[in-house]
Symmetry: C4
Subunit: 234 residues, 4 copies
Amino acid sequence: MKVPDKFDKFIYTLIIANVIAMILESHASIRAVYQDYFYVFELISIIIFSFEYFYRIVVGFKSAGIKGASKYIFSTFGLIDLISILPFYLNQFIKIDGRFVRILRLFRLTRIFKLGRDSASLKLFVQALSAVRNELKFTLFLSILTILFSASAIYFLENEAQPEKFSSITESIWWATVSLATVGYGDVYPITVGGKAFAAIISLVGIGIVAIPTGIISASFVEEIIAAKRRKER
Amino acid sequence: MKVPDKFDKFIYTLIIANVIAMILESHASIRAVYQDYFYVFELISIIIFSFEYFYRIVVGFKSAGIKGASKYIFSTFGLIDLISILPFYLNQFIKIDGRFVRILRLFRLTRIFKLGRDSASLKLFVQALSAVRNELKFTLFLSILTILFSASAIYFLENEAQPEKFSSITESIWWATVSLATVGYGDVYPITVGGKAFAAIISLVGIGIVAIPTGIISASFVEEIIAAKRRKER
Amino acid sequence: MKVPDKFDKFIYTLIIANVIAMILESHASIRAVYQDYFYVFELISIIIFSFEYFYRIVVGFKSAGIKGASKYIFSTFGLIDLISILPFYLNQFIKIDGRFVRILRLFRLTRIFKLGRDSASLKLFVQALSAVRNELKFTLFLSILTILFSASAIYFLENEAQPEKFSSITESIWWATVSLATVGYGDVYPITVGGKAFAAIISLVGIGIVAIPTGIISASFVEEIIAAKRRKER
Amino acid sequence: MKVPDKFDKFIYTLIIANVIAMILESHASIRAVYQDYFYVFELISIIIFSFEYFYRIVVGFKSAGIKGASKYIFSTFGLIDLISILPFYLNQFIKIDGRFVRILRLFRLTRIFKLGRDSASLKLFVQALSAVRNELKFTLFLSILTILFSASAIYFLENEAQPEKFSSITESIWWATVSLATVGYGDVYPITVGGKAFAAIISLVGIGIVAIPTGIISASFVEEIIAAKRRKER
């Protein structure tokens, strides 16, 4: 038993409507006037998403018993579905601190990623990622090491000259990430000769290291695309 | 029947002259002195471009009837040709608001892209793009999702601390795009611990996602170049 | 004779604990309270790392005599091990200037890079690097030339207008590296017409040159991954 | 007849010494003390480089007559050699404006690029560039079109709000290049809604276009490296 296509399309439309509502609601001027409407819309959405969640569990159960149900529950999209509705209920039943609610609302956003679910390219993309799985893990690990190393080094070199901006290694990680990802906002940068010399060298080497995962994903993706095309041609 | 080469070359020269005129005209000091000359040149150019437009329709018609004419009209370059002359006429016959004229003048710029028309590399480039068409759509879609997700998250995290700069999700999209495209002007950046932590993580992951389309295009282009070379060698 | 796995895992755990300790210690507020604990932990760590160093030499000696011992001593990880403990002893026996100690402590960080030691991907990555060894050297050399050239040119073009920021070619290397690595903090940038024109042109060409090593490493890595997969399939 | 290896090595050493001298001379404090020494060193260098230039012409002439001599004169390195010595003589015989001398001195820097002359990788690199010659021209042309288009569009959108920063299209080219090359110093950026919306969209598309040449060069280089390796294995 499968979830009917029409239901899927309705859910997609609702997700997009939810995202648009959230964007509109973020404007103080719009929120001031339509706050109640937004709340009602959120309520209806949560009810529908909750229904969807249990419906998919049932569909899974009917097709393959407990195994089918738990297959959905512990799948990526099953977890996303749960995460996006759970905070609403937690908020109703338990007294939660305002700040925490704010963070929990973030999880509603994960629904966005359900939109690409049916794409044939997604399958190819996941294949491409899984083909270089170990190498990606390794290069991401290398990136994190490089960031940690850069952050610690710049802390030792700049802390004395800029105790406010490079107050600790934790704080310096911000500089290291922003620099090695080549964003470079300009809110923190080295000013001592040693700091600049280190930053210049680590820029050339470190940026290369941090950029490797992206290069691997792209190259692997194109490999999969070509392989898929060859399979078709045969 | 084909458009003669000499005519094409004349049109190319005129396009370049138009671009140069537009650049010169944008300097307040030059505009002050030569404004009338620029207007006359614009007028003559529009007449020639209009003639070109109808001439190409006629050429299309003579070679393959209505089908030939409409083939040109609805081709990319046919639409560019129309878009680049239409605003001028609209402006003459209808009273348009000054602001809107400004935006319409932008369309004159699209002519620039006609310059590459005859390049053999363009054909190869279009082939390369079309070979990864679906994957490009998917990764661009993924990029937009990532930007939307980042913008919403940073809005929730930074809005309280910087209500001016992260005033709404719409406004935060600016930060997300500038950051994930690694431009990083430095006009907006997170200052809270939560915002910085999120920005650091999304930098490493998100920049990779946003950079994938470029990687795919490059890799696909090189594939096409190699394939074209092999075809030649045989 | 090999170093037992359990010992390796213990050392890895200790390295991670050391990194965490160093990060925590960098926070002035934490250091103020727990300084003594950090010192004791550092002392114990150095003793264990020193034991590890001599243990590995002995293991090398027992398996292949002097050759085995020196093989470890002069290996990359052997040198990292020595560099990370040596500064502590130097500091005890010789009176070293405070500033220099700071720099020597940086070497403790190199231990971080021991964490990836056993990864199968590391082997593949080293192979990928070594396959394009000469080309990497060449493109890094080209990058340095481009940086030197850009720094000198911008010095001649901007020194008069911004004598503070482009005070010498050495100082301009900072601008060149930050720009060509596309970080662009915004602390230094050209303001003269000549400087901007040069910076714009060198941006398009130079960034390409500086990015080539990264592109080569990624492409070579993917080549090695594919080759390794083919070997497995056979 | 060939130029002896020892002579080549001497010239390389002299080039490096010249670059170091130029870097040192750029420091006001060093120049103040050693100005005369720098002048003498420059004089001796120019004499040797001039001798080198004529010597290479003679070597060319002896091996293949006028054809051999002119082959060197009009080669890339022949032109670099001439350009790097000519300004000195022009400066001696003709009264040149101080500003112009400054710019001419820049040409001395081109000598730097002679250092990579004998590298085997250079040959492979030139091959890689020449294999994608037409495509590089096309994508560089596309990059320039994109920059011109972006500059014009942002001028129309931002000129009213920031007449100082986006004073003309020429001035806006600076913004377009810095943004599309992802440097983003932060000295100029759009502030209007229209400008930000355009900049966000063009960032995603334009950065991709500007980055394609680099991607092509890297991919082509790796192709050549692999092809060279296969030739060796046979």
